[in-house]
C-alpha cells in the first residue's frame, strides 16, 4: 500500500499553567474578524476557557467539527477529584450546548489554526499566551493510503459482533438497493 505524508498540527495544552486570563479568546476573535483586528468579542473565539475557579478548573478547549446531532449519551469526567462539565473535553459545535457558535447567527465555529497568507509560524492564541499554557507543535507522519478501508472493516466487524453477520448483510443489501 502507498504511503503518503501528512502534516499534523498540534496545540499542546498545559492546563495546569492556565491562569484564566482569556487573552487567547480576545486575540482569536480579533484575528478572525473582518477586516482583521477590527472586532473584539470572546464569544466568537474558537478557543474557550472553561472556568470554574473555585474548583481549580481552567480548561482551554478548541472548536472542532460541527456536529449536526448530539451524541446518544454524554460524558462527565472526574480527574484528581475535580468534576468537569458535561462533555467538557469535547470540541464539537453541537446542538447540546452554546459553545463554539457565533452569538448572533448561531453558525458553528471551528479552529483553523489561524490559516493565513503568508502562513503564520503558529496560531495567534499560542503566540499571545505569555504563560506558556499553549505550545504549538508540527510533525509529519507517514500514513497509509488505504487506511479508510480498514476503518470500514473495523466498523463492520463491530456491527457484525453486535447484530450478527446475517442482519448486517441484509441491511447492506437493502441500502444498496435504495441507492
Amino acid at each position: 500500500m502507498a504511503k503518503i505524508k501528512k502534516k499534523i498540527k498540534t496545540i499542546k495544552v498545559d492546563a495546569d499553567k492556565c491562569n484564566g486570563c482569556r487573552t487567547c479568546e480576545v486575540v482569536c476573535s480579533a484575528f478572525h474578524s473582518s477586516p482583521k483586528w477590527s472586532v473584539i468579542n470572546p464569544a466568537r473565539s474558537r478557543i474557550q476557557i472553561i472556568r470554574h475557579p473555585l474548583k481549580n478548573i481552567w480548561l482551554p478547549v478548541f472548536a472542532g467539527e460541527y456536529a449536526p446531532a448530539e451524541c446518544m449519551g454524554r460524558d462527565k469526567y472526574i480527574i484528581d477529584g475535580k468534576e468537569y462539565d458535561e462533555c467538557a473535553f469535547c470540541r464539537a459545535s453541537c446542538p447540546s450546548r452554546d459553545l463554539f457558535k457565533e452569538p448572533d447567527s448561531g453558525l458553528p465555529l471551528k479552529c483553523d489554526m489561524c490559516e493565513d497568507d503568508p502562513p503564520r509560524e503558529k496560531p495567534l492564541c499560542v503566540e499571545w499566551c505569555l504563560n506558556d499554557v499553549l505550545i504549538y507543535e508540527e510533525r509529519e507522519e507517514e500514513v497509509e493510503e488505504g487506511v479508510e478501508m480498514e476503518d470500514v472493516e473495523a466498523g463492520l466487524t463491530s456491527m457484525v459482533d453486535k447484530y450478527g453477520l446475517e442482519k448486517v448483510a441484509e441491511t447492506i443489501t437493502r441500502m444498496s438497493q435504495k441507492e
Partner: protein
Amino acid sequence: MRYAETGYNLEIDLATGNIERVETDPKLMETHLGGLGTSVKIHWDRVPPEVKAFDPENLLIFSSGLLIGTPAFSANRTIVTFISPQTGLLAYPMMGGFWSAELKYAGYDKVIFRNKSPEWVYIWINNDKVEIRDASHLVGKGALETQELIRNELNQPNAQVAAIGPAGENKVFVASIEQSRSSSSRGGGGAVMGDKKIKAVAVRGTKDIYLAHGDEFMEQMKEMTKYIKFRNENPLPGIMTILSGIGSPAEMKHTDEKWHTESFAWGNARRRRKDFWTKEIEESWKKTQLESTKRLISCFNCPTQCGGLITHEDVPSYMMKCFSKLTYLMGAEVDDLDFGYKIAKRAFEYGVDSFSTPQILAFAVELYEAGILTDKDFAGTDKYEACPSDKRGRFFWLLDRLAHREGIGDILADGVYWAARKIGKGAEAYDHNTIKKHEQMNIKLGMMDPLYYLMYSTNEKISITQMEGNWPQAAFPNKEDREAFVKDWPQLPDEHFKQYFLDWEPRGEKANPYYPTADMCSEIVDWMEMLHNIDDACCVCAGMSSFCLKPPWHIHNYPKIISAATGLDLDEAGLKKIVNRSRNLHRAFNIRRGMSRADEKPPEDHWKKRFPELEENLLSTYYKYKGWNMDGIPTKEKLHELDLDYVAEDLEKRGLYKNGQD
C-alpha cells in the same frame, strides 16, 4: 460607529424599576476619555453637594474604562464611584477580575444606579435583556457565596457577579463589593449598594467591541509583549523582590515577606518589628503558603499572576488578592500566616475592606487594653458569646460584630474616625492613622519624605497605593546603581528627571526631607498622579502601569494605543490635558463638598521627624504647580485653560474663592 467604547450607559432607577439604555454624547470621550473621567463628569452634573451618602440621589456608578474589552493588556478594572459614607467625598474604589469586560461585551460602558429599591434585589444584565430580580433569598449570604448562587440559579457559568455580603447589607462604612478574585473596597461602596438594597449585579455579554485602527493597535501590543517578556526574564536589580517585577506585587507567588513584615507597623499601626523575619518564620510561612496556594491566577487579559486560589486546611476554596494576606495578621499581631488565610476568607464573605477593617479591629483592641473599652463592650448576648481573650479569637469576634453591627461593632462599623468620636473618653487619641476620616496603610517611619508627604496629602483617592509607583521608594546608596537604573528608563516623561534621581542620596544634603526639592517633588508627584488618572480613565490596572517601576504602560505609548483604539488623534500633550481636566473637575467636586487645605495632611505620627515649615512650603509649591490657589482650589485661570469655565462659575457662585483669591 463608536470605537473602543460602546456608547451606551445603562440607567436604572431602583425606586420605580425603570431601566433605560441611554446613548452617550460622543464628545465626552474627547473631553474625559471614559472610566473615572466620564464618571466624575456625571457626578458633577447630577449630584449636588448637599447629597449625602445614604440619600436616594447619591448615584452609584459601576464603570468600565475606555480600553476595556480591547486586547489592551491588563485593561480589566471596574471603577465604582459614589459619595462615601465615611469621608463624604467622592470615592472611586476599583476592582480587577472580569466584570467590566463582560459589561462592555454586553453593550454598556457604565451602569448608573439612582434612588433606592424598596426590597432586596439583584440586577441581571444579559446583553439587551436587563432584569431587576428578587434577592430576598440571598440576604445574609456571603459576598463570595452569593456570586456562585446567582451563577447557578441563572444557569450562567460565564456570568460575572459583583456582590455584597452582610457588611454591605448592614451599611458598614468599610463594606466592599466583591467580585471574582477582586474587590472594590475603599470608601464603603458596599454600604451604598446595601443602602440601595442591591445585593448583586450579574452580567453576561456576547457582543462586539470595535477598534478604529486594529493593525496599529496590535503592533503596539506586540511591542508591549516584547517588553513584558523582557521584564519577566530581567527583574530590576537592587529592588526588593516584591517590587522588582511588573504587575501588581505578586503576593501569592513570592514567599519572602521580610520587607512588608519588618518595614510596616503591626497592631494599630504602632510598632515595627525589625527582627521579625527569622529563619523559623520564613520556613513556616513558606510551607503554609506553598501548601495553600493551588494556582496563581490573573484578571481579564492580564499576563501577570498576582492572585492565588487558596485552599487552606478546612477553609473552603477562595481567591486571595495581594496584601490581604498580611493586613489582618499584622493588625492582630499574630505571627502565624495560617491566621491570615483563615480570617481573610471570613472577611471576604462579609465583604469588608482589607485595609481599613484590620485597623479598626486593632484600634478596638488598643482601646480595650487602655481601659477605654471595657468588658461590658466585649460581653456576650443571647445571640453570641463574649469576646475570647486570645489574639486570634478577639479579632474573629470583633470582625463578626462589625460586619453585623452588633454591640460595639455598631460603633466600630463607621470606621476609626467616627468610632473614636462616638466612644469619646480619650479614644480620639487612638485615631492616629486616618487622613480625611479614612484609614491608611499601616506604615510609620522615621524621616519625613517630601514625595510621600504630597501624595498622602493631596490625592483624591486618599489611599497611597493608588498614587505612588513610578518613582523608586528610596534613593539608591550606590552611584553606579543609580547610573545603571537611569540608563534604561524610557517611561520617564522627560530626560531631566534622570538628574534628580542621580543626585538623590539616602543621607546628607541631597536626601529627604530637603531633596528632591519642593519644585522637583511637584513634577514627580504630578507625573505619577497623571499616569494613575490615565489608567483610571482606561481602566488599565495600575500594577502594569502607574503602580509599578518601569512599567509596560507609560505616557509615551498611551497616546498611540488610545488613538489606535478610538480613532482620536491624540498626542502626549492632548492626553495630559484630558486627564488634567478630569482631575481638576474631581478636585472641584470635593472642594464643593467642603474639602479644604486643612484636611490635606498625613497623620501626625506618620514620621518621627517632621518639618512644619518645609511641609507647608511643599504643599504651597505643589498647589501652585497644579494651578490651584493657596486653599487648594483650582484657579479660574486653570479651569479656563481646561475648558472648565462652568466649574469656575459654580465655585464662584458658592463663594468658595475666599480672601480675594481666584
